[in-house]
């Protein structure tokens, strides 16, 4: 037990330290390359990753969010109808998703879909000495491999959150129209009436934060793989679990911060 406790504390601290070092080193390596008169990385690398992380995730994010919005409207609607307040459903779905569920669910889905892929990919490259070969050639592997991936997921997560919000609203609108007699136009106006800028800004800021977390954790786990194929598998699982746990923890801290500032 005495041995387990320090390990349980030491491992997350080591991971956080490693991620901070990775972020700083990636920025430093990228800037160094720029100062030598080169572009930070090939645009095709970034757009390739953006396409994969962003466009490739749209169907999954849209589908899951649509069903979640639908379910949320259905469950809350039936309860609120007892009190004749089913008109609150559009606002509930709108605020719930733009501020909380949209970024959070998108973060979880991207962590599972893209975070796992990044870790497996970089882990395989690490195990087969490809990353080291890049370093040996003087090509910064952090600049070449980490920067475009982390930037893509950082910038694309807010866009995916918007997709999630819209899909959830579509699901909610469908239920409200069919079950509670709220027309699509009235649904839209109720959403607009209830949503305030703070909700949208909070959702966007969260999305950027989650994107950064997922990008750094998945790349860090990939680059620190040890032990060949089984090591890649272990790192991939660990990457997804860590990213989801950290995203949820960050979400909670963010919400506490928002409540302390605004309430």
């Amino acid at each position: 037990m005495n041995d387990l406790l320090p390990q349980a504390v030491a491992e997350p601290i080591r991971m956080i330290g490693g991620m901070v070092y990775l972020a700083v080193d990636t920025v430093r390596e990228t800037l160094d390359h720029v100062f030598r008169g080169h572009i930070p990385f090939r645009p095709s690398l970034f757009f390739g990753q953006a396409d994969r992380a962003g466009v490739g995730s749209v169907p999954l994010v849209a589908l899951i969010s649509f069903f979640m919005g639908l379910t949320m409207a259905l469950l809350t609607g039936y309860q609120l109808r007892k009190f004749g307040t089913q008109n609150l459903v559009p606002g509930l779905v709108g605020i719930g998703f733009s501020r909380e569920l949209g970024p959070l669910m998108t973060g979880i889905m991207v962590a599972a879909r893209i975070g796992a892929a990044y870790t497996a990919e970089l882990g395989t490259m690490t195990a087969s000495e490809e990353v080291e070969a890049m370093e040996a050639m003087g090509i910064g592997p952090l600049r070449f491999l980490v920067a475009p991936r982390a930037l893509a997921v950082f910038l694309l997560l807010p866009c995916l959150s918007v997709v999630s919000n819209l899909a959830a609203l579509a699901g909610g609108a469908l239920v409200c129209q069919k079950q509670f007699g709220i027309s699509y136009l009235y649904f839209a106006s109720l959403v607009m009436e209830n949503l305030i800028a703070r909700d949208i800004i909070a959702g966007v800021l969260k999305s950027f934060l989650f994107g950064l977390i997922i990008g750094l954790i998945s790349c860090y786990k990939g680059l620190t793989v040890r032990g060949g194929a089984s090591g890649v598998g272990t790192a991939t699982t660990s990457s997804v679990v860590s990213a989801i746990a950290v995203v949820i923890a960050a979400d909670t801290l963010f919400n506490i911060g928002m409540v302390m500032i605004y309430e």
């Binding site: 160094d32 490809e130 080291e132 070969a133 040996a136 090509i139």
Partner: protein, 264 residues
């Protein structure tokens, strides 16, 4: 006696300034010493073969020269520049003058052969596309791999991958080539092809090579000097013919492949 003064490590009096010099390099992993105050000088245009048991630290030595690993103590000089005290930019500048051929070839699996060779040129130089293409074709032709340009690494055999890795190491015209077990796992004919390639690179391109291997036939064929790494130290370093005649019990046992002796 200081290891630098050991007769086996002492250099010929006519030797020029070394391209690589390791001074008292000590390296530990998790408290376990891998290299113990090791000294080594590699002169320009030499083909220095480093031999030793598996796990003796030969590949680690190459990683130290590349600046990928940092020694626990001692210094590593490349062209007179101490890599331990160099900035990241300086280390990268030194790396551009080195070419490394990994045992596993370490070609980027998602890039075609042509893109693997073009990568360092695109990332580290300001050369135009046409010039990059010309250099890539030239280096592929040098290793007899002209036809493989559009293929992915996993579509090549082990020997072909090794030759492409050599071509990649050559694209930036390095002054120092590092080979980690270049002929391991290859058939004797292909091994000879790789050996001849290494020799011709030194002779024609005036490149210095450090080759890590424990294949004796290759080692004696390629080397202009051979060093024996044992228990973290260079215990013998000499010209091939003198190395073969060495009376050092470790060297004798290694060359003869005996099971009895100081090597367990």
């Amino acid at each position: 006696m200081n290891e630098r003064d050991h007769p086996a490590v002492r250099q010929e009096p006519w030797a020029g300034p070394p391209i690589v010099e390791l001074r008292g390099v000590h390296l530990e992993f998790e408290g376990k010493p891998i290299l113990r105050h090791l000294n080594l000088r590699v002169e320009r245009k030499q083909r220095m073969v480093i031999m030793g048991q598996s796990g003796a630290g030969k590949s680690t030595l190459l990683r130290l020269i590349l600046g990928i690993l940092q020694p626990s103590a001692g210094s590593i000089l490349f062209q007179g520049r101490n890599l331990n005290h160099a900035s990241r930019r300086e280390v990268n500048e030194s790396r551009i003058k080195m070419g490394m051929v990994y045992q596993s070839s370490a070609l980027i699996s998602s890039l075609t052969v042509r893109d693997n060779l073009a990568l360092p040129l695109e990332e580290l130089t300001h050369k135009r596309r046409a010039e990059i293409d010309r250099i890539v074709e030239e280096k592929l032709a040098l290793v007899g791999m002209e036809e493989t340009g559009p293929l992915l690494p996993n579509e090549l055999s082990g020997g072909m991958r090794k030759r492409v890795a050599i071509a990649r190491a050559l694209v930036l015209e390095p002054e120092l080539l590092l080979f980690d077990e270049p002929t391991t796992g290859l058939d004797p004919v292909l091994s000879s092809v790789i050996d001849e390639l290494i020799i011709s690179l030194t002779d024609k391109a005036h490149t210095t090579s450090i080759i890590v291997t424990h294949e004796l036939s290759s080692a004696f064929h390629i080397a202009t000097r051979i060093a024996m790494l044992f228990q973290g130290r260079i215990i013998e370093e000499d010209r091939p013919e003198r190395f073969r005649a060495s009376h050092n019990p470790v060297v004798e046992q290694f060359i003869e492949g005996r099971t009895e002796g100081p090597i367990h």
